[in-house]
């Protein structure tokens, strides 16, 4: 077992990625991700990590470079945030269609405009339908663990899909947290060498990323959808193996004091830590409150979510992004559609908060619960509200 050390989360993530013995990293610096790039390039320059660090000229090039490297059979990594992720956008569905097991950290940051460098989820949400497996970390340890698990999930022969690990910008990336890094021996035992499904090699010529017309396009989309859906049992197995090796449990939907809860809140990412304190406070007051934390965003864990909601009467879904002119936050619309066919389902509410890095404190989470509890006639049900916005 590795030592428990205090590390900035970005540095810890870079150390974890180095333990995965990546062959190549193609990263363009962008706040709040840059320290991952910086630390990885230091590790390569110092000879600690035997990998190619490609200093690309943009995020579009970063994703292009990792696609090329992965297609050549290299374990490839990148990291980005916000505008950088948007610049990568056109290549994300190509990486997943080519079934290249690239891993990427997203230091979640608000998308411009106005320009803002702080944390929310408006960067990852527009990438929802690109065919990437997406997980969210709640703290530094999870960011480390998920970064290592990501390679094993991505490279599993029944998956072969890219994975993005979402780490809230600043709230997580720039915190110095106590983190336990596994030893090299442990990571080597957990993560076998990368065996690609096909490689670009002059001796065995293949075409990757070929053209397809209407006679094949739909079949290819169907195959991709099945591939990402079928990745869930593999993800669950890998999380079980992780727990056995390292003692830390990972589930698609994490629960906290939810078993007998009348009212539940659902969060994604670092806000779960604060919401948990609010649940404790409400429990002390005798309110049967609980918390669900959505870890696995894609593939969406329908069954696990329904099981975790159980018989709760009210569910507050929180979002850190908005679908303008749409049904509210993207998590809200997803959860609603997941519950549509259920005979018994909770009354559902949506709070959009923490935009552009705005802090949400414990007392505000308590106030959200109180507001929903006081809505006895369910007048606010099925609506969304920008929490704390000045009227």
């Amino acid at each position: 077992m590795g030592k428990r050390v205090g590390l900035e989360v970005t540095v810890a993530v870079a150390e974890a990625v180095a333990l995965c013995r990546i062959d190549m990293a193609g990263v363009y610096p962008i706040t709040p991700q840059s320290h991952i790039a910086e630390h990885l390039s230091n590790l390569v320059a110092d000879g600690v990590l035997d990998a190619e660090f490609v200093t690309v000229e943009s995020e579009h090039s970063a994703m292009s470079a990792v696609i090329g490297a992965s297609a050549a059979g290299a374990r490839s990594y990148t990291a980005t945030a916000s505008q950088g992720l948007l610049l990568m956008n056109e290549l994300l569905p190509i990486a997943s269609a080519m079934r290249l097991p690239i891993c990427m950290a997203i230091a979640n940051r608000a998308v411009s405009g106005p320009l803002n460098i702080l944390n929310d989820h408006t960067d990852i949400m527009p990438q929802r339908d690109t065919g990437w497996i997406a997980v969210f970390a709640e703290n530094g340890q999870e960011a480390v663990d998920l970064s290592i698990q990501a390679f094993k999930i991505a490279e599993h022969k029944d998956v072969m899909l890219p994975v993005c690990v979402n780490i809230d910008g600043f709230q997580l990336t720039h915190m110095v947290e106590p983190v336990e890094l596994p030893t090299q021996e442990e990571v080597d035992r957990f993560l076998p060498p990368f065996t690609p499904h096909a490689t670009l090699h002059p001796a065995r010529p293949v075409t990757m990323g070929a053209f397809a017309m209407s006679d094949y396009f739909a079949e290819i989309m169907k195959a991709k959808d099945e591939a990402i859906k079928n990745s869930k049992p593999v993800i669950l197995d890998i999380w079980t193996e992780w727990e056995r090796m390292f003692g830390r449990s990972y589930k698609p939907v994490e629960t906290y004091r939810s078993e007998d809860a009348d009212i539940l809140m659902l969060t994604m990412g670092s806000m779960g830590e604060t919401a948990r304190l609010a649940v404790d406070e409400l429990r002390e007051r005798g309110v049967r409150a609980g918390l669900l934390k959505l870890r696995l965003w894609r593939p969406f864990p329908f069954e696990e979510l329904k099981a975790a909601i159980g018989g709760a009467k009210k569910l507050i879904v929180t979002d850190r992004a908005i679908s303008f002119g749409g049904p509210g936050g993207p998590v809200f619309s997803e959860v609603k559609s997941a519950l549509y066919a259920q005979k018994q389902r909770p009354i559902i509410y949506n709070y959009i908060f923490g935009l552009g890095g705005r802090d949400v404190q414990v007392k505000e989470f308590v106030a959200m619960f109180d507001k929903v509890i006081s809505d006895v006639d369910n007048k606010m049900a099925d609506t969304y509200e920008f929490w704390g916005v000045r009227e």
């Binding site: 072969m160 499904h197 096909a198 075409t207 094949y216 195959a223």
Partner: protein, 92 residues
Amino acid sequence: MTLKTWRELPIGCVVSEPGSASEYHTGSWRSQRPIWDNAKCIKCGICYIFCPEGCVQQSEDGFYAANLDYCKGCGICAHECWPRAIKMVEED
């Protein structure tokens, strides 16, 4: 060509057989075909040079014709043929 089902597709749709694109007969896209009038043809080969598909071939007697497996019927050969020996005719 029998079309594969989604289950039969290789992972990532990797094409593992080099040169297999020739099995795809793009001639099926054609709505017009080029017809050569060898009485007007001066065997200059401009049709052969301009064909973007590379499907115009010269026969042993020096005259030209399109391989209809790949000719998409774009009409560039007919447009470029200055003795006007090539006519585009509608496919049935």
